[in-house]
């Protein structure tokens, strides 16, 4: 039995000021995360559960380079974001922080609250009714980075390997 994930449905153009509002940028990620998406879904930060996923419209993560906009979702335990298109800068930040982004042209078919499963090798999101939504390929080195938990743990591993005598 594969793991299911509950869907939080958002619209298009979710920007970094909605994910990590500028006024809270002085704070640590745990505090920023409590304000994540408060402008569009005030209940999100309090009610999202580890393993939930976000399904959104196009251009998710547009705006700032602040990686806290991806870090806040990691902090809240969001498993993945599923959207037809992302800001390129946000895309890099997310994988660097270990957040999986699935580029799914049909993401808008997903409904609020439904349970889905992820088929990563098969590059698909599987809906509760069995419908498969195809996702774009992700380069292997980025998938490895997500598996490692992000760039920092990966760098740490690489540096340790370099230090160990061969």
């Amino acid at each position: 039995m594969s793991v299911t994930h509950k869907v939080w449905k958002l619209g298009a153009d979710i920007d970094t000021d909605q994910l990590a509002p500028g006024a809270y940028m002085k704070l640590g990620i745990a505090d920023i995360a409590t304000h994540c998406l408060e402008g569009v879904r005030p209940e999100f930060a309090a009610q999202v559960r580890a393993g939930d996923v976000i399904a959104a419209g196009a251009n998710f993560g547009i705006g700032s380079s602040r990686e806290q906009a991806a870090g806040a979702l990691v902090q809240l335990g969001v498993k993945a974001v599923i959207a037809p298109a992302y800001s390129g800068l946000y895309f890099r930040n997310a994988f660097n922080l270990g957040l999986l982004l699935l580029t799914c042209p049909q993401a808008e078919r997903l409904e609020e609250g439904e349970s889905i499963t992820l088929d990563l090798p098969g590059r698909a999101v599987i809906r509760s009714n069995g419908e498969r939504l195809a996702c774009d390929a992700i380069p292997d080195f980025l998938l490895e980075m997500v598996r490692a938990g992000g760039l920092l743990p990966q760098l740490k591993k690489n540096l340790q390997q370099r230090k160990e005598p061969s």
Partner: protein, 428 residues
């Protein structure tokens, strides 16, 4: 057609190929690049990098290639900002960083003014408006702090070689119409993510005619188009600007797109362009200024790397001067945060700052300030017209403010009349 050995390359491809140690690169391939320069600020930099470096037990790869600019939390207004800026200052001292600019202005403007940019470089910045450096013919893009850590430790970063969108501007801008209007128009036409993380290249007669700082405005707002980089092939204007910054040995030849390089071309007519305004809450929500009827404004903000460089201040001052106005419209508050100390000093010497003060403008520190809601926030419920780059809901610190984006000409004209105004009416 060129031979297989020497395929036609865009400027973006040439810059990336050089950094990747290759003769040429193909669109879509992922390559590892050697970074010539890494710039970051107090918000994205030391407070995030220092703990991660310590966790790794790693050293900075090359201090001479790092530029640190304190611009987001200066001047410090509370305990949190004092703590953040202190971390940056302590780390700069500890590391003995050779290039640190504290309270000198906004990073994207300070970086070229201090002579750190030149054509051919491959640079990253810990800020989304880092494409500004593309105006100098350098490949520069924004990255997050964790990715910056990777650069700071290894000196390298991966890129997927982008397609190039060539924005070809023919004709000549009318008086009172500026680079900001060109950019708002392009973003309105392409959308906030229309750049699809490709490289945008601005070219054509109207781009060649722009001053260096106006070109920087184009490259700067490539971020709002969702492009990775915003490039302009260097020319004599670039050479002159570099010389003023003390860079006399820059190579400008060869840093341009080959004639037959593959690119998606969009044509624009500068002569037909009216001043543009982006309505709340998106920079892509753009229409010509005459579509805004009698929209009243209570706050006019001239600030940010996008809109408070010397040429921006000059543009605003020209509108005020032409109107011969002794004061602004009733109930309008004008705030000016010059983009750098150097620009402010020059504006002082040209009488621009005195003119602005005489009109009752509140002159704010040369920092990011209200643009990003980091300081000097705007009042709740106000209609704001700003020279900044973003009008996302809540961006400037108030969720109920309505922020309109426009050029310095339009912001000045609107401050005079108390409603969104076509600056050509004032300048005529």
């Amino acid at each position: 057609m060129k031979t297989q050995d020497a395929p036609a390359q865009t400027l973006a491809q040439k810059l990336i190929a050089r950094a990747a140690g290759r003769q040429h690169v193909a669109v879509g391939e992922i390559v590892n690049c050697q970074v010539d320069l890494a710039m970051f600020h107090d918000s994205s930099g030391p407070r995030r990098l220092k703990p991660m470096l310590e966790e790794l037990g790693a050293q900075v790869w090359d201090k001479s290639r790092i530029v640190l600019v304190m611009d987001h939390y200066v001047p410090e207004q509370d305990d949190d900002s004092r703590r953040i800026v202190r971390i940056a200052r302590d780390w700069a001292r500890e590391q003995q960083l050779p290039h640190v600019y504290d309270g000198q202005g906004i990073c994207h403007v300070v970086l070229p003014q201090k002579g750190h940019l030149r054509p051919g470089l491959f640079c990253v910045g810990g800020d989304s408006h880092s494409p500004t450096g593309g105006a100098f013919g350098a490949y520069m893009f924004g990255i997050g702090s964790t990715e910056m850590l990777g650069v700071v430790v290894t000196g390298q970063i991966w890129v997927r070689v982008p397609q190039t969108l060539r924005m070809r501007w023919g004709g000549r801008l009318a008086d009172g119409v500026s680079a900001k209007d060109m950019m708002l128009h392009m973003i309105g036409r392409c959308g906030m993510n229309g750049g699809q993380y490709q490289a945008v290249e601005f070219c054509g007669q109207a781009v060649r005619a722009l001053s260096m700082q106006e070109r920087m405005t184009l490259s700067n707002m490539s971020a709002e188009m969702g492009a990775q980089a915003g490039l302009i092939a260097p020319d004599e204007v670039t050479r002159e600007a570099l010389a003023q910054a003390g860079v006399h040995d820059a190579q400008i030849d060869g840093w341009d797109s080959d004639e037959d390089a593959q690119a998606i071309v969009h044509d624009f007519d500068a002569g037909a362009l009216a001043p543009q305004v982006a309505a709340p809450h998106s920079p892509a929500n753009t229409r010509a200024v005459d579509q805004f009827g009698d929209t009243a404004v209570q706050v006019a903000y001239i600030g940010a790397c996008t809109g408070a460089k010397l040429d921006d201040l000059r543009a605003a001052a020209r509108v005020f001067e032409r109107a011969g106005a002794a004061r602004l419209a009733d109930g309008v508050r004008l705030m000016v945060a010059p983009a750098s100390q150097q620009d402010q000093a020059q504006a002082e010497s040209e009488g621009i700052m005195a003119r602005l003060r005489n009109l009752g403008a509140q002159v704010l520190p040369t920092a990011c300030g209200a643009c990003s809601g980091y300081g000097g926030s705007i009042p709740d419920g106000a209609n704001v017209i700003a020279t900044t780059a973003r009008n996302f809901k809540g961006r400037m610190g108030s969720a109920t403010a309505q922020v309109y984006l426009a050029s310095p000409y339009t912001v000045a004209a609107s401050a005079l009349r108390g409603r969104i105004t076509d600056p050509r009416e004032v300048l005529a």
